[in-house]
C-alpha cells in the first residue's frame, strides 16, 4: 500500500494510505503505528492513528520531514499485520438509552432486536477523537446504521452507549452529542489510573453484552 506523505507545518508528517474508509488502509495504519512505537526515530514525539491516516509528530530541533519520511518508508517495507496484537474487552451494557425506541422505529426493529443486533457486532477501536477518551468503535451491524440526529442533545452523561453511521462510542464525559443513545455502561475508559489512564488501545477489540 503506497502512502502519501503530507508535511504539516514545522513538526509533523501526515501519512495517508487511502482517501476514503478502507479496512486494509486501517490495518496498515495500526501496523505502522506499532512498528514506530517499537522503533522510534531520534526526535519522535508522538503518533496519532486514525481511520486511514497516521500523524507522526517530531521535534524540529532534532529531526525534519525528510528524515521522518525516510524512517517511515523503511518501517513500511518491513511491517506485517502481526506487528500489532490487540486485546479484547467485554463491555456490559444496560439497554436503557433515551433514543432506543426511536432507533427501533427508524430501523424497523423492536428495542429488544436493537439490543441483540448491537451485541452481534464485532467492534474495533478505530481511533480516538472529539474529546478525551472518546473511542470510535467500528463494526456496528448494517441494520443499525443511521445518520446522526439533525441537532445535538446537550449534557449527555459519561457512560452512555451511542451509535451513528457505522460507529459506536462510549462517552467518557458529560458532553453534547448528535448520536443515538441506546444504552449505558459502568465500564470506564478514562480510568483515573495513572498506570493505565485509558482502558483501550487503538486497534483493540470489544464485545458488548446485555447486563441483567
Amino acid at each position: 500500500m503506497t502512502p502519501h506523505f503530507h508535511p504539516v507545518a514545522d513538526r509533523a508528517v501526515l501519512v495517508e494510505f487511502a482517501t476514503a474508509l478502507d479496512p486494509a488502509a486501517h490495518r496498515t495504519v495500526l501496523g505502522l503505528d506499532a512498528a514506530l512505537a517499537a522503533q522510534p526515530f531520534p526526535g519522535f514525539v508522538e503518533s496519532v492513528p486514525a481511520f486511514v491516516t497516521l500523524l507522526v509528530a517530531f521535534d524540529p530541533l532534532i529531526s525534519d520531514h525528510d528524515a521522518v519520511e525516510q524512517h517511515l518508508t523503511m518501517l513500511l517495507s518491513a511491517i506485517t499485520e502481526t506487528d500489532f496484537t490487540p486485546r479484547t474487552h467485554d463491555i456490559p451494557v444496560i439497554y436503557d438509552g433515551a433514543d432506543l425506541d426511536q432507533v427501533a422505529d427508524l430501523t424497523g426493529l423492536t428495542p429488544q432486536q436493537v439490543a441483540v443486533q448491537h451485541q452481534a457486532g464485532r467492534y474495533q477501536v478505530a481511533m480516538y477523537g472529539f474529546a478525551p477518551g472518546y473511542a470510535y468503535l467500528s463494526g456496528l451491524p448494517q441494520a443499525l446504521h443511521l445518520d446522526r440526529k439533525p441537532a445535538p442533545v446537550r449534557n449527555v452523561p459519561a457512560g452512555t452507549v451511542i451509535i451513528a453511521g457505522g460507529m459506536c462510542l462510549i462517552t467518557t464525559l458529560t458532553m453534547p452529542t448528535g448520536w443515538w443513545r441506546i444504552g449505558s455502561t459502568q465500564a470506564k475508559i478514562l480510568t483515573r489510573d495513572p498506570a493505565q489512564p485509558f482502558a483501550f488501545a487503538v486497534g483493540d477489540h470489544l464485545r458488548f453484552r446485555a447486563s441483567p
Partner: protein
Amino acid sequence: MTARLEILQAGPHVTFQDAGRPRLMRFGVPASGPMDRKALAIANAALGNPPGQTGVEVSPGGVTVLCRAGPVSLAIAGGGFVVARNGRPLASWLTLTLHKDDRLTLRPGPWGSWCCIAISGHIQCRTWLKSASTHGSSGLGGGALTSGQIIEIVTPRIVPEAPIPCPVWARPRHRLHVTLGPQDSLFAPETMHSLLSAPFRMTAAFDRMGLRLSGPSLAPQAALGIPSQAITRGAIQVAGDGVPTILMADHQTTGGYPKIATVLDDDTDGLAQLRPGDGMIFTAIAPAQAVILARQRHAALQRFLHHLAMRRSQGSL
C-alpha cells in the same frame, strides 16, 4: 510556610496552566497548556522557576486577587494588560510581591488577549495525567478559577520587583507563516490564492479550542468530508460554509474538515494575542524552511529566557 491568594473576581476561561500534557493525542487528549506558551515560560524564567511550572492564564475577562497570607512574588507576561496593585497602575510585564491585604487586578489593556501569572512557589491544585493544565471543555486538570476560591502556595519565595522587557517577537503576530495542506488539493487555485493574498480578521468567536476568522470564503471545491484524521495546533480547517477556524490549545484531536494550511507552531503564540477585528495575512513557506525557522526562533526564545535568568541571579530583576 504557605501563602494564600483569594480570587475576588475571575472572568470566564481564567484557568490553571502548565507546560500541558503532550503525547496523548492518540487518546483524544490535546496538549492544552497556555494559549501563549512563551508568556508562561517568560514569567516563570523571571522568577527562576522551571519553564513549565503551574501558573494562572488570564483571559480577556480579567482577574482580581486578594493576598490573604503573604508575602509571595509573582511575575506577569503575555498580553499588554493593565496591571494594578491596590489601585496603583504598574508595568504590564513585571515581577512584583504581594503582602497580606494587597489587591492585584489584571484587565485587558492596550493589546493582547491572554496574560500569564507565574508564582514563586508551588500552587496546590488538581492535576490530571501529570499536568495541572485545564482542558477547557471538560474542566479536567487544575480547572477554571472562580470567585471566592483560595489558591494555596507552598514554599513562597520573594524576588526583587522589576519590569520585564517585552521582546518584539512576543507581541501580537499579524503575519503568519503557513505550510500548505494537508488537504490543499481539495481547494481551487483561486481559493489558495485568496488564502495567501487577502487579509483575514479575527472574530469574536474565539476560545481556547480555536479562533474563527472572517474574510473571503475558502469553500472547498467539493463538499466532500474526509475520513476523520488527527489535527495539530495551528491547523486552518474549513467548514462546509467556507469559514476558516484556526485550532488552538484545547483543539479536538481529530476531525473530518479539510485543512487548507497549517500555521507554524511558533506563530500560534503571537496569533493567540490578536483581538477581534485584528487583521492577519498568511505567507506560505516550504516545510524545510519551516523547520529552519522553528530552530531559529527556539534559539531566540532560549537566549531570552537565559538572559532573564542571568539578570535575576545578578539581582537586577
